[in-house]
Structures are given as C-alpha cells and as structure tokens.
Amino acid sequence: MLSNLGNLLLFLNIFLSAAIIFSALKYLKISGNLIPKIIYQISTFQSTSIIICFFTLVGAFIISDFTLITVYQNSHTLKPTFYKIAGTWGNHEGSLLLWVIILIIFSFLFLVFTRKHPKEFRLVTIVIQNILIVGFLFFILFNSNPFSALSPTPSEGLGLNPILQDPALAIHPPLLYVGFVGSSIYFSAAMASLITNYSQTSFVSSIKNWVLISWCFQSLGILVGSIWAYYELGWGGFWFWDPVENASLLPWFAMTALFHSLIVFEKRGLFYFWVITLCLLTFILSVTGTFLVRSGILNSVHTFASDPARGIYILLFLTLMIFSSIFLLFKNYKKENYNLNPNSKETFILINNWFMMFYLITVFLGTIYPIFTDVLTENKISVGPPFYNMVIIPIVVIFLLVMAIGPKVKWIKERFTNLKNYLFILMGSTLINLLIIFLFKSYSILSNLIIISALFLIISSLIDAIKSYRSSKIDFSRIISHCSFGFLILFIGLNNNFSIEKDYNIKLGETKNFNNYSIKLQNLVLEDFSNYKAVIGELVINNKNTNQKNILRPEIRIYNNPQTLTYEAAIKSNVIKDYYLTMSNIDRSEYYNIKFQKKPLMIWIWISVVMIVFGGFLRLFQNAKNN
C-alpha cells in the first residue's frame, strides 16, 4: 500500500516539475514583472506532496513495513523508534529522497524570497532547478527507488548497521544535505544569470543568503560527522582524510571562497564571472562528491552497497551539468579589467580565494589520484594523511596571517600606517608561544609557526573587536568567525603536540604504569541490552601527580541484528582534556588489548567550529534584518 502511495507521489512530482517548467517558459515571453499565481500554487503543491512522500517513507520505517525493500534491508522491529526514523535517510535510496526534498523546498523558497529581482531571472532559475529535480526524480524512480516492493513479505528486517545507530549520525546526513543540495539553488541562479544577462550587483542579494545557509549547514554537518568519527570509530582522531570526508570538504572550500568574493562583487562590482564560476563549481563538486560516495568507486566508511549503474547515471548527469555550465560561461564570458591595487581589500579577498582554490585542488587531486593510478597504471594506492598534512599545513601559516590582516584593509587603497601594531601583535604571539614551550614542552618548528600565526589571528581579531566596539561600527559575525578559526587551529595544534597514546595487553586485576599515570583493569561486567550484549571493562586511570582517579568503561558490543561486533570507546571529557579508552578482546586469551589516549582541549575544537558557524548565522540574521 505504502509502496503504491510513494510511487504515485514521486510520479506526481515529476508531473508537477514538468508543469512548472512549461508554465515558466510560457510566462517568460509575456511582458510584465509579475510571476503569475499559478506557478506559486504548483510549487506549493509540489513541496507539500514531496513532504508527504517523505513522511510516507518515515511511516513505513516506524511501523516496520517490510513490504518495502529499503525498510527490510535497513530496519528491524526491535530497533528504538528514534533509529527507525533516522534509518529513513541512513541508506542510499532514502537519502536520495532527502536530496530531492531539499531541491524542491529550496526552489519554492527561492521563488518566494526573490520578489525584488527581475522576472526572467527568477523564472529561468526555477526552470533550471526543476530540470535538476526531474533528473534526480528519474534517478530515484528507475534506479534507487525507496518504495520498491518486496514479495513475499519477510517477517523481520535485516537491521541498521550498528555503527550508524547513533544520535550524531542521525542528524549528520540532513545537515550535510542542506549544505550539499542547498548549493543547487545558486547553481541554478548562476545559470539563469548568464542566460538572462542579469549581472548587476543586485544579483548578489538573490543568492548571498542561500550561500550562507548552505555554508553554515555544511560546516555543521562536517562537524557532527567528525564528532561521530571521534567517539565511534575508536581511533581517537576526528579527521582521517577519508575520501568521503574530502568529498564534503570540496564544496565547503568553494562556498567559503564564494561568499568572500560575493562581498567584493556587491561592494565594487568586480569578479562577476569568478562569482558565477564558484556558484557553478560548488554544486558540481557536491554532485561529484555524491558520485564518489555512491558509485563505490572509492573505498570508505561511507560506501553504500555499490552499484555501477548508479555511478553511471550520476556521472552522466554530472557531465551534462559540467558541460552546460562551461558552455554558458564561455559563451557569455567578457574580459573584466580589474586594476586592483595590491594594498586593497579586494586583493586580500582574492588571496583568500586563491588559498581556497589551492586547498580545493590539493584535496581533489589526493582524492581522485588513486582512481587514476588504478585505471592508468593498474596500481592500487591510497593517498593518506601524510600527503595532506605535508601540502596543506605549511600553507595554513600564511593563510592565517592574511586572514588576520585582510578584513581591516580598506577598499580600493590602504596606506598601511599601522604596521607597527602588527609587529607588536606578532611579538605578543611569539611570546605566548614561548611561554607554552617553556611551561610544558617544545615542539617542531612548523608547530611553532602554526601556533604563532593562530595566536596572531586571535589577538588581532580581539583588538579589532575592542576598537570597532568603541567606534560602534562592529562586524560581530566576521570577527567571531575569524577569531574562532584562529582558536580552532590553535587547539588542533596544541592537541596534536600534547596528546599521549599508549597501547597495552592487560588482564583482569593487572596494572600498567607510564609517565605519571597508572591504569588498572579493575572489573569486567557482562550486560544484556535490548538490541545488543556488552562486555564492559572497568578501568581506573590514576594521575599520580594530582592523585585524581577516573573510571572509564569501554565496551565490546555484540549486536543481534545484524550480528556485528563493535568496540565502544569510553571518553571522559572536561575543559582541559579528554581521556579516551578503547578495549578489544583477544581470542582464546584472558588478555584484553587496550588503547589509552590523553587528548588535551578536545572539547574546544568542537566549540571553535560551533562558533565559526555561529558567526555565519549571525550574518544571516543581519542580512535578514537589513532587508
């Protein structure tokens, strides 16, 4: 029953998109600057019906309707309701439906919120957006249909992969999708801008909030994914340069470059084609990311059951998008004369963009390089953290310095009368860095440079905040985001240099000593939970200097459906540090392998990212208020 309803709604949406495209094209030729009511009505109807369609699937998961293959493969009657719901988008088919919902809702909201802009531009944007919608709807219906029926109906489902049964992971995909898919609307708008020659600076106001929204959500999605990886995967790290993490980072770089160059375009009317290129690039990279993840062309923790047909469809779609973008871009391209003064805000923002492009290209090459070596030379290799660390980290130093100076440089031309101030700030940063080395321990030259430049950014942002507060012309959103970025790099740097990691085989009652710590396996408990059994170790970590005792309880979980073994890390966080402990059993032996890590300032890494995003949301509210 639900299968029929779902399929019906999907077909209905194709029909509605076609109706929107048809009527938009029809009204394009009619003069006047008003979009007829009928288009709003169809669009409203479409949004409603796709939401109903989505809730049909959610409903199927809640009542465990195993007549649907997707539900059968990804759910189980004994699963907590929360994870039944999260299971809706925890699989390929369901998550694609989420894609389409966002495409459709953004299309509708764009129509509603751009009344000040020319009719042609708005209509063409909607047409292009609906072409994207139809493309994805076809993909869903004919290749990845979440409503495919299964007969005869099985009595029980296969269950959701246990490592996905986690609150952070339940919200990770929706957040990331708003970012990923949200970029579709400015892809469409950029195409429309090229087609209708809408290249005035007012174009910016039609897309800048969309860019900010997608950027904020993309950042949050990446953050939640990192937090999940940190406590769930049990390696103790939060970023692994996994191909899929990279796939989420690529559009993020493009978005960041985009909303910075939008500032220049809005203020000075420069960089139009560059802005358009970035708009197009962001969504193209989002789809490229989806291709890399869903086709199974790369191995990663996110690979869903792979299916080459799926990959071919997305690749075809991607090719069409790329070449139509390039065609339009080249056709309309006119050379712009910049005449930028090197000492101007324009130049500094352009430098920001170069950095972003540099990071983007580095990460992109690192991600697809293994595919190339495999296809061209039959060599299987993987590009790991050393490559990224080596290429990216040294560049961060200069990036941070530019990021500190850039925002205060004037438009058109700056005379740099305050060089002395920067020198003082640099000296202050170096001093703090020396203090850290003196009080705690020394680290490599590169780490020194990173920490100094991060401090430089933090201090200049703070001084900037105080100064502009006095003159009551304060740009809170920018200062918060930039300053938090400085803190982020600082905390990551300190965390890297001050982490301790120890690995032992230990049996019940045994104590191991290292540095000024001792660790004892005090007790082992076997417990039964609704969907798994767990062996829980009770380990006492004693800091001999402060005589402070902490009990950590890492778990070995045996899930029933599907039967899987997972290792749950035990983490004790406080403001200064995290204790991180994982335990695994050793077959046919009374020993357990434990890995203990002390990771300073972990919580501040998360907080910094939250603050960076907070800056973004603040800008969004300011923009809304100014309109």
């Binding site: 790369l298 071919i312 697809i368 296809v375 299987k380 695994s584």
Partner: protein, 171 residues
C-alpha cells in the same frame, strides 16, 4: 591565450570523466588472490637475531614453507599462535616467521610467553617485504612449495579449517 584555456579546460574535464567512467567498472577492493599460482622471484628478509639475510635459495631447501607475518601488537596473531605451534611439529613443513613493524623487546616477550614455532625467524621492520609479497595487513600466511610457487594465501588469522587444508596439502 583565452582560446587555449577554452579548449584545454573541456579536454581536461573529458579526460577526468573518462577515467572515472573506466574506474567505475573496476574492483576497488585490493585483492591479492591473483598471486596464487605465481612464483616468488625475490625475497630478502633480515634474520631476527643475526645480521644475515634469508633469500630465495634458502626457501628452495624446504619441501613446503609457510611464511607467516606477525607482530606482538597484533591481537589476532595471538589467536592463531597455537595453530602455528601445532604446525611446527609437521616434518614436511618449515615455518618462516616474519616479524612485521615491531619492537624487538616486545616481540621477545610475545615469543617467550606463547612459544616460538618458527624454524626461521626474520624481521620486516619497514613492511617493505610484506608489500612485495602482497601482504597488506597482518596476520597473513603464505604457503609456498619448493619451486617457490604460492599455493595458498591466508588473510587474517589461521582457522582450524585453514590448518586442516595445510595439513592436507603437505602430506
């Protein structure tokens, strides 16, 4: 200049897309099973205790050799160790242990605790030899005959089923 850019960008993109297209139809899992039936042409393993090397010619002297990659830090290696001890009693089979990316002190503790089943013990500190033999994770064992042909590969710890199949082959 502009013309060159306008032509080269699409060409580069087409190239990338074609490679991705071909890549789609490739098996992404690194698989070394194709090595079965092939011959080992070269090995150069440093002895565990002495400054000598174990080479292909040494391998030819044994009727059958089981090359076993292990380390003290590897939990599954502990699990398979008792089976290796059993195998070391077989007359037709010699065991060549390769201590993989390990610290000597800890490896010694491991062998003292669980026993040393190996007829020859070598080390592969950097993991280079392992790569040459198509080993990308440990434990892994490779069964070789005296013609240096790889008869079987066991990825992961040996099970009692693997044990029986080795006994069957060598007798």
């Amino acid at each position: 200049m502009q013309k060159i850019i306008k032509i080269s960008i699409p060409i580069i993109l087409i190239f990338i897309i074609v490679v991705l297209f071909i890549g789609l139809n490739k098996d992404t899992n690194y698989n070394t099973n194709s090595l079965i039936g092939k011959k080992i042409s070269k090995i150069n393993l440093k002895h565990y205790n002495e400054n000598k090397f174990y080479k292909v010619d040494d391998l030819k002297k044994n009727k059958y050799t089981l090359i076993n990659f292990w380390a003290s830090w590897c939990a599954p290696c502990r699990a398979e160790h008792s089976l290796l001890i059993e195998l070391s009693k077989e007359k037709n089979l010699k065991l060549l242990g390769v201590n993989f990316k390990d610290k000597k002190r800890q490896a010694d503790v491991f062998l003292n605790e669980l026993g040393n089943p190996y007829d020859f013990l070598t080390k592969d500190k950097m993991g280079k030899n392992a790569v040459n033999l198509g080993v990308y994770g440990i434990p892994e064992s490779i069964l070789v005959d005296k013609n240096l042909t790889i008869l079987k590969k066991f990825v992961g710890p040996l099970s009692s089923k693997d044990f029986n199949s080795i006994i069957e082959i060598i007798n």
